[in-house]
Every structure is written in structure tokens, then in C-alpha cells.
């Protein structure tokens, strides 16, 4: 059985719990084991490296150092911010001997070492490029025929590095859901636009404007459901719909799911095991719309 070392990230223990739960259920269904990284810490996300860049690489690298110690050369990540932050630590260490030495120094202080060779993998990359669309498609039990899906990648999915997809116009998730028979909005204009991220707390006017635009775009495309690949994106788009409506006089009521939840439904995983009942905007319509 194929196994991956797995880094859930902090959000997955709080607001993004459903992402973690559905990822585990989906991978179990696919016969792939996820081994949780021992004693992992927060990746630092976008905030930390904006303030103290070098320190942020050190705390990100601590996770990679544990992965190395556990004998793995790959680390599976679900959150876009974790993905970008951890990969960025790798890149900066590879490109700058000064950063490499500083990070080694910091890790050395806690008796750790990291040689820079653990590859950070997004769960979507693993699903589409390791397991493969053919294998995934062959395991679909409930085809999502007729379901209009808006694939929302978020701003940090392929930017800035674009390791496994196009920077501006990613298609990995489009292809994944096309394999389930869903009606994917392939020209979803806002697929890599920013949701506002944690600006929802500091400059909610700006973040709400971004969410409003994203939701408008999804509605214009006729979306039955938006699928997200990041806990913050998911929370902003789903949880703040009432506030968007209040601010802009709109009436959005669009279900937003983690892509792992919808993919799990297609593979016939029990909705309860995918934590679908935990969503703010009810997904009953989506579940009901899927032919049994």
C-alpha cells in the first residue's frame, strides 16, 4: 500500500477540520495511507515571513527536518498556504547559501538538521499525478453528472512557483472533477483570485469585496457548488456569505466545499465520514443532486 507522510497544518485542527477529515477518508478509500508527521508545528503561513522572513524559514524547515528524520523524501500537504510556505523554505534554502546556513544554525540549536531534499507535495498533485486520473476515474461510484462545479484554486495554489500546474490558469482540479463526470466551469475567471485571506480580520472591506467578486463570478458561471483547496479560502467564501450579502445587497447561498469532500462523495464515501454536515451553507442540495 502506497503511503505518504502527511502534514495537516493548524487550520485542519480548527476551522478547516472538515478538510483534514475528508482528506483522510478520501485517501483511505483510495487505499493510500497517510502517516501524520510527528510533533509538527505551524508552517508560519503568510504572516510570519512578511515580518520575520529568516525565522519563518526556520520554523517551516523544522517540519521538513522531521520528515527527513522519519526517512521520507516527500511530504503531503493539504492547505495552499502550508504548501507554498514549506516549498518556499526549500526554494530559498536551495537558492541562498546564507539562508541555508542560517536555517541549519537554528535547527542545530534544537538538535535538528535538514539537508533541503524533502519535496513538498500538494494533495491535489498526488491525486492527479501519482494516483492518476485513470485510476481515480475508475473508482468513481457516484458520477457527478450535471453538477455545475466552480473549481476555486486560490491565489497560493500555483503561485508563485507553478510546480505542477500553470501559474495563471491551473487545470488540475478541473481535470479531477471532469473525471467524476461533473460539469466543470473550466473558464471560471476567478479561479486563482485572492479571497482576501486573513485580511477578513484586519481589512474586512477589502476582503469582502474580493469574496463578492468571486461569488459573483461563480454565480455567473452557474455554479451549483464551489470547491476549494485551502481552509482560509473555504472559510471566507462560505462563512462570510451572509456578510457579503449584507454589505453588497446580494442573496448568495452557494454551497462551498473542500474539493476532497466532493471527490469523496463521487467515490461513494459516506457523507458523514466527509464531515459534510459541518458546512455552514448547507450542502444537502449538492448531496441530493448526485445520482446514487
Amino acid at each position: 500500500m502506497k503511503r505518504y507522510l502527511y502534514y495537516p497544518g493548524c487550520s485542519a485542527e480548527a476551522t478547516g477540520k472538515a478538510y483534514d477529515i475528508s482528506t483522510r477518508a478520501l485517501m483511505e478509500k483510495l487505499g493510500t495511507a497517510l502517516i501524520e508527521l510527528d510533533d509538527w508545528n505551524c508552517c508560519g503561513a503568510t504572516s510570519y515571513f512578511s515580518v520575520r522572513e529568516l525565522d519563518s524559514f526556520a520554523i517551516a524547515a523544522r517540519n521538513l527536518s522531521i520528515a527527513q528524520q522519519m526517512g521520507d523524501d516527500e511530504l503531503c500537504v493539504i492547505c495552499n498556504a502550508c504548501y507554498t510556505t514549506l516549498a518556499k523554505a526549500n526554494r530559498y534554502m536551495a537558492e541562498s547559501p546564507e539562508v541555508f546556513d542560517a536555517v541549519q544554525g537554528a535547527l542545530g540549536a534544537v538538535g535538528r538538521t535538514y539537508d533541503g531534499n524533502v519535496k513538498v507535495r500538494h494533495i491535489m498533485d498526488i491525486l492527479v499525478n501519482d494516483i492518476g486520473l485513470e485510476e481515480f476515474g475508475s473508482r468513481v461510484e457516484r458520477r457527478l453528472t450535471g453538477l455545475r462545479v466552480a473549481p476555486y484554486y486560490g491565489c497560493q495554489f500555483s503561485r508563485p512557483m507553478g510546480e505542477f500546474d500553470d501559474v495563471q490558469m491551473p487545470t488540475t482540479m478541473d481535470r479531477l472533477f471532469q473525471a467524476t463526470g461533473a460539469d466543470v466551469i473550466t473558464d471560471f475567471d476567478a479561479k486563482t483570485d485572492c479571497c482576501g485571506g486573513m485580511m477578513m480580520l484586519t481589512r474586512s472591506d477589502a476582503a469582502l469585496r474580493l469574496c463578492h467578486e468571486l461569488l459573483t463570478c461563480a454565480r455567473q458561471g452557474g455554479a451549483d457548488v464551489i470547491v476549494a483547496a485551502c481552509p482560509l479560502c473555504e472559510m471566507n467564501l462560505e462563512g462570510y456569505q451572509p456578510l457579503v450579502n449584507k454589505t453588497f445587497g446580494t442573496d448568495f447561498d452557494i454551497p462551498v466545499m473542500y474539493f476532497t469532500q466532493l471527490a469523496g462523495l463521487a467515490l461513494g464515501v459516506d457523507p458523514k465520514k466527509l464531515a459534510i454536515d459541518k458546512q455552514v451553507v448547507s450542502c444537502d442540495r449538492v448531496v441530493a443532486a448526485i445520482p446514487a
Binding site: V167, T216, Q220
Partner: protein
């Protein structure tokens, strides 16, 4: 070799070399080396006093071998070799040690640079005792010139050369000459009509008795060398006899295949399968496009073109013709291609009908274009608002890093044309920097601001059709950060023009290889020297002009075309030219006649002598590439100036420290 007297000259090149290499130290070290009788340093060796040092030492000290440690030999080897020759020393007894490009410019650490300079110098000091005097080979020059590419650059160069009485072959890939300029409506900043200023030149080139027009033709092979190029040109079958065709276009009117996207109209207009690309085409002859002609595709057709053609010029059996031409010089004027904005997905080119490229707009605004010069949207209505996005595919490290130089000005010209045709239409120019550097350009910019065009400083982020307010409904929305206001704007417009950059022709690299020179990192043809030899290439006798070298406007292109013509003339106006004597020699006593060298020679410069049973080098054809030297199993071919013992001595010298 007891009487070798080597002189060493170390150039500071200002601080270019002196700033990194400890020149005094290396010069003192060189003085101690075997056979070195004098070692000097000088601020600028290429200056007259610098050259005089060499001459004086040759004449007064009896120096008979010279090494100049300075820049690349492609830069000043000819300068120093001439100085040596002036003082009576055979120029091939002088060697360059490249301590600038190979050392000071590319080495960070001063001590390392100094040590490296010593090794580079040592290699040449060891080599020199094995150098032999060589005499340049003088060959006759063919006075004809070939110009490749029939845009404004090629036309101008051809006309200038013809005016001196030289024969010119003007080769153009498309059915007509004229290039991109023929597609334009007006030209900035004077707003002359492009056709009005270009057509007379096209027509003059077409009628010129000195110019052989080879339109719808491509160069396939180039052989030979400066003064004596042999060029194979494929004249593609037009399926129309160009001697009898009168260009009356009756065939075009009769053709039943009427919906082929017109290349000349950027696909916005349609043409027939037999066509004349535009009314002012030169030569004004019809061409049948074999991919769309029913007869040539083997399908049924009543061939109304044949019936319509009075002079019976249509010939479905016509074949390509391959011409073998001989010329003394070649001018490359193969132009550019507009950068295709499809990969810049955020601007939605190809997704929204009314997002168009600059070249498409040129055709739309052109009186002879597909809309008859009416600026319209796809649905035929006039746009009430237009955004022009600058730097699409230019100044962008994801696509092309270079500035395409002409886009700011042509964008301003578009604004003017829109305002002229549709005074009520709002126009927005989204720019990063407004680069209006030419004569009359800044004045034109000022005039446009007075005409009421909205200037928005910021690279557009996205073109979307997602309306967030009733005013945006039904419009394209340009999202752009206005960096002067410090806000993100959403500008609803009816039409978006993408000011695409200029890209190298898609096959620029392959074409440059046919002619034996190269391309720069950005894909445009590489000039010999960016400042002092901008129209020459590394291949003697081949010159470049126009946008194939780098994006430029029409005035610069015409000026460069004139310069290229003058350079070509300076070559072919001489009866003979001296070529480097560094060619191969095959000793008939040693040659076993195995043919390997004959088969590897890329210039067909080695022939097999059946009578003697040995291979022989054709002196005039050998380019001194050294391939035969490397290929021979018995080590027989030797290249003058690059003898085995010279190369081994050089290696030993470099490794001696």
C-alpha cells in the same frame, strides 16, 4: 626555437581588467617567463600610444612574437595584428590572451582573477614559439547581393544597393513584398498613411531592372564564404504563371472557396483559395493556396478560375523551382512576428470577441481592411469605450523581458485614430511607463493628452466579463491598479486592444543557423557588436537590418537598412577580399584516402582525388572550422594557426602553474 623573442602587453582596459586583476603583479611575473624579453602594462593598449609600444619593441628590440593580454580577440585582434604588420611582423605571430571576457568580467575574487589571468597568459606564451607566419588568402568578390525579407527594411536595402548599380536578389517568403508596414493604417507620429509612403517603394523595387524579385520563395541552403556565397532558393509553386498573369483578380472573383481567413487581414477578413493578398501587392500576381484549393486537394471543382483567366495563366501542374544563386554579400531583413497573447490568459484573448491584438486593430482601422476602416466591435457596432493595454508579452519575465519599443507610440496612435473616427468614445491607455523617445514622439503624447485620452499608469491585471454593478453589465472589465491614484480600478469598456510586443520570427533560430550566425538570448538575430557593429553578424559578408535584430520603429529600420546596404556595398564594391589563412591542409603523403573528412566537411570543401587516391582541400571553400582535423583517424588534416603542437602547448601553458 632559441631565437624566439616574446613581448607581453597587459592592458588595464581602464578598470575593466585593472579593477579585478593585479596587473603589475602579472606583468612582473610574465617578464620571468621563458622567451619573454619584455613585459609591459598600459591603461588602454588599443589606443595609438598602446599600439606604438608594440611597434617600437618590434623595431627596436627585435621582438618577433607578441601576446596582448586584453579583451576578446573578436574585439581587437584585428587592431593589434595590423599594428604588428605595420611594424613588419607577420600578424599571425601575435596572439591575444582574453583576460577580460574570460577573466576579469566573470571572476568575483581579485586574487582568483589574478591567478586566472596568469594561466590565460601562460597558455599564449607557451603557444607562440610554435606559431608560423601565415599570409592572407585573397579571393575574388561576386558583386551581387541577396536581401532576405521584403518588408520595409529589405525593400530599402535593395533599392539603395540597386542605386549603386549592383544586382540584387530580393527574396520574400510571402506572395507579396511589403511586410508588416503594408498592413498598417497610419504611421506615428506624423500620421502619414503607411500605404502612401510604402507603396511607391514597393512598386519601385518591383520595376527596378537591377532587382530580381523572388517573392513566395525561401532560402534553403547557404554555402561559401564572404564574397562568394552560394545560395539555394526554393521558389514555391504559385500554380500561376507569373509571366502571363496580369493581376486582374478575375480568378479571385470567380473562385468558389471564399472563406479562407486572410493572413493579411489577421484572419478578420476572408480571402479566396486563389488570391492576391492585397490590392497593392508586388508582384501583383495571383497565388493558389494548395491547402484550400479544391483542385489541388484532389476534390471536384469546375475550376471557374481557369475559365475566368483571360491570359490562361493558371497552371495546376506547376512545381517548386530550386534556384542556385551566387552573391558576394547577404542582408538579412526577415522582420518580426507579433507576440501571440493567448498564453497571457488573464487578458482573455481568444475568449472574448472584443479583446483584439494591435495588428488586428491596424486592419480594422485601415480603409482597405475588413471593416472598410470603420472601427467596430464584432457585432458591427461602434465601441463607446476602448482600453488599450500596454506591454502585453513585453517587459514581463514570464514571457519576453525586452521592451518592444514601438508599442507605446502605436498605442497612442490608436487612441488618436479612435478619437478621430469616434470623437465620443472614451479611450483608456493602461501603461507601465510611457516611452516616447523618438523625434516628435513626446510632442505626440502631449497632443493625445489634450485630445482627452485617459492615461492610467498601471499594468492591467485582468480582463473579465464578471459585472459587479449595473454599469458594468454587458461590458468587458479591465482591472488595473492606477499607481498614480493608488487605487485598483475596474474600467468597463466595449473593446480591449492588447498592445502585444514584437517577438522574433518563430523560426529565427533555424534561419540564423542556415546562414551561419546566431541569435541573442531574447531570440533576435545577434549582431557582431551591439554598439559598433550593429548591422554585421559574426559571419563575414552577412548583415542584418530591421526588426530581425531587435524591435525598432520605421525610421530606425530604414536607417539600419541603409547602413546594411552601405556595409554590403563596402564589401562587394571591391574586386577581391582577404580571407583568413587558417584553413586545413591534407598531406598527400600521409592521407590513406578513407573519405571520412570528405563526409564530415560541412562546406563541401574537401574533394577526393581519384587519380592520386587522396583527399584534397579546396582552399577557397574551406572555412577553417577544423572538423576534418578532429575526424581523421590518422591525424592527417592540419589547420594552419591551430596545429596540434600549438594547441598542446597552449594546454601545457595553462596547466603549468
Amino acid at each position: 626555437m632559441a631565437d624566439e623573442k616574446i613581448a607581453v602587453y597587459f592592458c588595464h582596459c581602464g578598470s575593466n581588467i585593472g579593477g579585478k586583476v593585479d596587473v603589475e603583479k602579472v606583468t612582473a611575473w610574465a617578464a620571468e617567463q621563458p622567451n619573454v624579453v619584455v613585459s609591459r602594462e598600459y591603461k588602454y593598449m588599443c589606443s595609438d600610444p598602446g599600439q606604438d609600444l608594440i611597434k617600437d619593441d618590434i623595431q627596436k628590440l627585435g621582438v618577433n612574437r607578441v601576446v596582448v593580454a586584453a579583451c576578446s580577440p573578436t574585439m581587437h585582434e584585428p587592431t593589434f595584428r595590423k599594428a604588428a604588420a605595420d611594424a613588419g611582423l607577420n600578424p599571425f605571430l601575435l596572439q591575444m590572451a582574453n583576460v577580460r571576457e574570460h577573466c576579469s568580467w566573470v571572476t568575483e575574487d581579485k586574487d582568483e582573477a589574478t591567478e586566472k589571468a596568469k594561466r590565460i597568459l601562460s597558455a599564449q606564451i607557451h603557444r607562440l614559439p610554435f606559431n608560423q607566419p601565415l599570409d592572407p588568402i585573397e579571393v575574388p568578390v561576386n558583386p551581387a547581393v541577396m536581401v532576405v525579407g521584403g518588408g520595409i527594411a529589405g525593400i530599402e536595402a535593395a533599392l539603395k544597393l540597386s542605386a549603386t548599380g549592383k544586382k540584387v536578389f530580393l527574396v520574400e517568403r510571402n506572395p507579396s513584398i511589403g511586410g508588416h508596414m503594408a498592413m498598417f493604417d497610419k504611421t506615428f507620429p506624423t500620421l502619414d498613411c503607411a500605404a502612401c509612403i510604402l507603396t511607391p517603394k514597393m512598386s519601385a523595387a518591383g520595376k527596378d531592372p537591377n532587382i530580381t524579385m523572388l517573392a513566395y520563395s525561401e532560402v534553403e541552403e547557404v554555402d561559401g564564404y564572404v564574397g562568394n556565397f552560394k545560395v539555394k532558393v526554393r521558389k514555391k509553386a504559385r500554380y500561376v504563371n507569373t509571366d502571363t498573369c496580369t493581376g486582374c483578380a478575375a480568378c479571385q472573383d470567380a473562385c468558389v472557396v471564399r472563406k479562407v481567413p486572410s493572413e493579411f487581414d489577421q484572419g478578420l477578413g476572408k480571402r479566396t483559395a486563389i488570391y492576391i493578398p492585397f490590392p497593392q501587392a508586388v508582384p501583383l500576381r495571383a497565388t493558389i493556396d494548395p491547402t484550400n484549393c479544391l483542385t489541388l486537394k484532389g476534390k471536384k471543382c469546375k475550376q471557374p478560375c481557369t475559365t475566368a483567366c483571360g491570359p490562361q495563366a493558371i497552371d495546376f501542374d506547376q512545381q517548386d523551382e530550386v534556384l542556385d544563386l551566387e552573391v558576394g554579400a547577404i542582408i538579412m531583413a526577415t522582420g518580426f512576428e507579433l507576440w501571440d497573447p493567448t498564453p497571457e490568459t488573464r487578458y482573455s484573448y481568444g475568449k472574448f470577441d472584443n479583446v483584439i491584438t494591435s495588428l488586428e486593430f491596424e486592419r480594422i482601422s485601415n480603409a482597405s481592411g475588413p471593416t472598410g476602416g470603420h472601427i467596430t466591435l464584432k457585432n458591427g457596432e461602434a465601441p463607446k469605450s476602448v482600453a488599450i493595454l500596454h506591454c502585453v508579452g513585453s517587459r514581463d519575465e514570464n514571457f519576453q523581458e525586452h521592451c518592444s519599443r514601438v508599442c507605446c507610440m502605436y498605442s497612442l496612435k490608436f487612441s488618436h485614430l479612435i478619437k478621430e473616427h469616434l470623437p465620443e468614445t472614451e479611450v483608456y491607455e493602461c501603461y507601465i511607463d510611457m516611452r516616447t523617445y523618438g523625434k516628435g514622439y513626446e510632442e505626440f503624447y502631449k497632443r493625445l493628452m489634450d485630445e482627452g485620452v485617459h492615461m492610467v499608469r498601471g499594468r492591467a491585471g485582468e480582463v473579465s466579463n464578471v459585472a459587479l454593478s449595473p454599469e458594468e453589465e454587458g461590458h468587458l472589465i479591465v482591472k488595473v491598479e492606477d499607481t498614480l491614484l493608488g487605487i485598483v480600478r475596474r474600467i468597463p469598456v466595449d473593446m480591449v486592444i492588447l498592445s502585444s510586443g514584437l517577438a522574433p520570427a518563430h523560426d529565427a533560430k533555424e534561419v540564423s543557423q542556415i546562414f551561419g550566425f546566431g541569435c541573442s538570448a531574447n531570440g533576435f538575430y545577434l549582431e557582431r557588436h551591439p554598439k559598433l557593429e550593429p548591422v554585421s553578424t559574426v559571419t563575414d559578408g552577412i548583415f542584418i537590418a530591421g526588426c530581425c535584430q531587435y524591435p525598432k520603429d520605421i525610421p530606425d529600420t530604414v536607417a539600419q537598412a541603409g547602413a546594411a546596404a552601405a556595409c554590403a556595398l563596402a564589401l562587394v564594391d571591391n574586386p577581391t577580399v582577404k580571407v583568413e589563412p587558417t584553413i586545413s591542409y591534407i598531406d598527400p603523403e600521409k592521407c590513406a584516402g578513407c573519405h571520412i573528412c570528405v563526409s564530415v566537411c560541412p562546406h563541401a570543401a574537401i574533394q577526393y582525388n581519384e587519380e592520386k587516391g587522396v583527399a584534397e582541400v579546396i582552399t577557397a571553400a574551406c572555412k577553417g572550422c577544423g572538423v576534418c582535423v578532429a575526424a581523421c583517424g590518422s591525424n592527417v588534416p592540419q589547420q594552419a594557426g591551430y596545429l596540434d603542437e600549438q594547441i598542446f602547448a597552449e594546454i601545457e601553458g595553462a596547466m603549468a602553474l
